[in-house]
């Protein structure tokens, strides 16, 4: 294979893995929330987005020092995540799919609030190492890419270790399996749930901040990202760990290659085809209803 093509391949793969790393960060947030409260939060991307917008506003418009601005953004993301759980998710009727509907409403709400507060123009944001690069063998290695990959790997491994090796992880898994039993054994189920949602907010903010450095940013910028993460979750299975995490990296690689081979316009149809193929070929089990008949 000619050196130029190899360099291209490495480039595409590198950038795909970097996006995959950030997808993995978001995936952990989605998995934790789903396993502990059985909910999907369609407004997950916006949770991070509002934090990023606040940081940008404080730093670039008002002139507050960068670290304070970042911290403020983090705090906002954390707050939004916790409030989503506390005020909304815990209080909606247990009707199937209502959490989807209600978080869609939150998506509308947060997106439009951000647009009103900060305007609809795309902004460019902090560099966050995107302007540090080196060239090795014709491949343009961007430090931000490396950072994202490392972060993704760290989060994936860290998540696995915490869930399997610590008592915190055991408590989490117990609460996920059966909250009533967990409570009766003395696990602080509600406290754990609040903590998990808060952590998911932090993860959303981290990913949103890094994405803001890599993409042009407007109020909707996290939406397609989060959709891809949910797709990865759907493919791997939201009740497992390694399959969806690997799916997160894989889908990013897939998209990166599709864009490289067929152009920017190829990403939406490529994802679409992937999902339809997988759905048609892989049989998925029903939810509890089926198993009830065995009682």
């Amino acid at each position: 294979m000619p050196a130029a093509a190899l360099a291209d391949a490495a480039q595409v793969t590198l950038s795909g893995l970097a996006t995959g790393g950030l997808y993995a960060v978001l995936m952990l947030g989605v998995l934790l929330v789903f396993q502990v409260s059985k909910n999907i939060n369609f407004a997950y991307g916006q949770t991070g987005m509002v934090g990023v917008f606040l940081s940008y506003f404080l730093y670039a418009v008002i002139g507050i020092p960068i670290f304070v601005a970042l911290l403020a953004g983090l705090a906002l993301a954390l707050l939004v995540a916790s409030l989503t759980d506390r005020l909304i998710i815990r209080n909606i009727p247990a009707r199937q799919g209502f959490d989807l509907v209600v978080t869609l409403g939150e998506l509308l709400l947060l997106t439009s609030l951000a647009q009103i507060a900060f305007g609809t123009n795309a902004q460019s944001y902090l560099k966050l190492l995107t302007n540090w690069a080196a060239v090795r063998g014709g491949v343009f290695i961007n430090a931000n890419d490396i950072l994202c990959i490392l972060l993704g790997v760290a989060v994936t491994l860290g998540g696995h270790l915490i869930l399997t090796r610590t008592s915190l992880g055991t408590s989490l898994r117990a609460s996920a399996a059966d909250a009533a039993i967990a409570r009766s054994v003395g696990i602080n189920v509600l406290g754990l749930r609040t903590a998990v949602w808060a952590v998911s907010g932090i993860l959303a903010w981290v990913a949103a901040t890094l994405f803001a450095a890599r993409l042009s940013v407007n109020a909707f910028y996290m939406t397609p990202i989060v959709i891809n993460v949910f797709i990865a979750g759907m493919i791997g299975g939201l009740d497992r760990y390694w399959p969806p995490m690997i799916a997160a990296f894989t889908i990013a690689l897939y998209e990166s290659w599709a864009i490289f081979l067929f152009g920017e316009a190829a990403s939406a149809p490529a994802i679409f085809i992937l999902v339809i193929l997988l759905l048609s070929l892989v049989p998925k089990r029903y939810l509890e209803e089926r198993h009830e008949a065995r009682a």
Binding site: I88, G97, V101, G105, L108, T111, S112, L113, I271
Partner: protein
């Protein structure tokens, strides 16, 4: 004229208490009076907005069928709306005669409904929503990337239907056209609620296990629900394009699908009156905000409303009205 069968009356105390038969007749007369009053007493702008409400009501009825009644959360609904709209828009340049177009829209809608339904048959919840969302994105993408044909993201103008003195972009003509569509769709939906198909949809929504134990063909019911939703939305979209005279992808994107959802849930899923209330909301309130100069406030309110309804009144405004009526009934006794 029997509007509500005796047997049902005897077992529905709310209807008994409010003198349902007389009440329903009165309601029909009141609606007819309002319908006449609008073009007679109000200006062009109001009449045009009323036509929009009726068009959106038809589309919302479609979403109510597939989501409110059959329980399948379709986030592709605005795309079916767009399918009809772009069919109308492209009929001009492609030279498709008027008399073929309704059949064409029907055909496209049935095809579209089947194509979206089939992958979703074994899915529920998030997976269902995601797949329908992806279909929606695909439609959006197709329009955006077919610049030469559809004008891409800039949109394209639509020449009106002209038959003799009738011009679909004329205010009164649009009003009549939309009314005819809305009347047909509403009657059809009312019939659906009383038919075996309607019962099957409720069964599939509430318990697939019970449905199977009754012999309800679940796959057939889901596909039919999607097809009906696509036909309603497609027909509404077709009329929309000819009435408004302009189509662009932003009217038919994910946010638009979410607004249809807001309409169904705000009004009350599974209730015709609820659908009309919801459709009125998503047409009138943005106009209101436009008029007072805060166009961006509507999505905020839309999102907030969805959350508030989900938290406090999951059955929508119709449930709220029924609760109020029940309270009044108790108070009177």
């Amino acid at each position: 004229m029997r509007l509500v069968p005796d047997i049902v009356l005897r077992h529905r105390p709310l209807e008994r208490a409010t003198g349902a038969r007389r009440g329903a007749l009165f309601g029909v007369i009141a609606l007819a009076a309002i319908w006449l009053a609008i073009p007679i007493f109000f200006g062009q702008y109001t009449v045009f907005i009323a036509a929009q409400v009726m068009i959106y009501a038809v589309a919302t009825l479609g979403l109510d069928i597939v989501y409110g009644r059959a329980g399948q959360l379709s986030l592709a609904h605005a795309s079916f709306f767009g399918l009809g709209a772009y069919a109308a828009a492209l009929s001009g340049p492609l030279g498709i005669p008027l008399w073929i177009q309704p059949a064409l829209v029907l055909f496209l809608a049935i095809g579209g409904g089947i194509i979206v339904a089939v992958p979703t048959l074994r899915l529920s919840g998030l997976r269902l929503a995601l797949v329908t969302l992806l279909f929606g994105e695909l439609f959006d993408w197709a329009i955006d990337h077919s610049l030469a044909l559809t004008g891409g993201s800039q949109g394209m103008t639509v020449a009106p239907i002209t038959i003799g003195p009738f011009n679909s972009q004329g205010t009164l003509d649009a009003y009549l056209l939309a009314s005819a569509l809305a009347l047909g769709a509403t009657l059809l939906t009312r019939q659906l609620a009383r038919s075996q198909l309607g019962r099957r949809m409720l069964a599939v929504r509430d318990s697939e296990l019970a449905s199977a134990s009754l012999g309800v063909p679940i796959v057939h019911t889901k596909i039919t629900a999607f097809i009906l939703s696509a036909v309603f939305a497609g027909a509404a979209g077709w009329v929309y394009a000819y009435v408004v005279g302009f189509v662009s992808p932003t009217t038919f994107n994910l946010f638009a699908s979410v607004y249809f959802l807001v309409a169904v849930i705000l009004g009350g899923a599974g209730r015709i009156v609820g659908v009309w209330l919801g459709a009125a909301y998503i047409v009138l309130v943005p106009e209101l905000f436009n008029l007072v100069g805060y166009p961006n406030l509507f999505p905020v309110l839309g999102g907030g409303v969805l959350i508030a309804i989900a938290l406090f009144l999951p059955g929508g405004l119709v449930e709220g009205a029924e609760l109020v009526l029940a309270e009044l009934g108790r108070y009177r006794r």
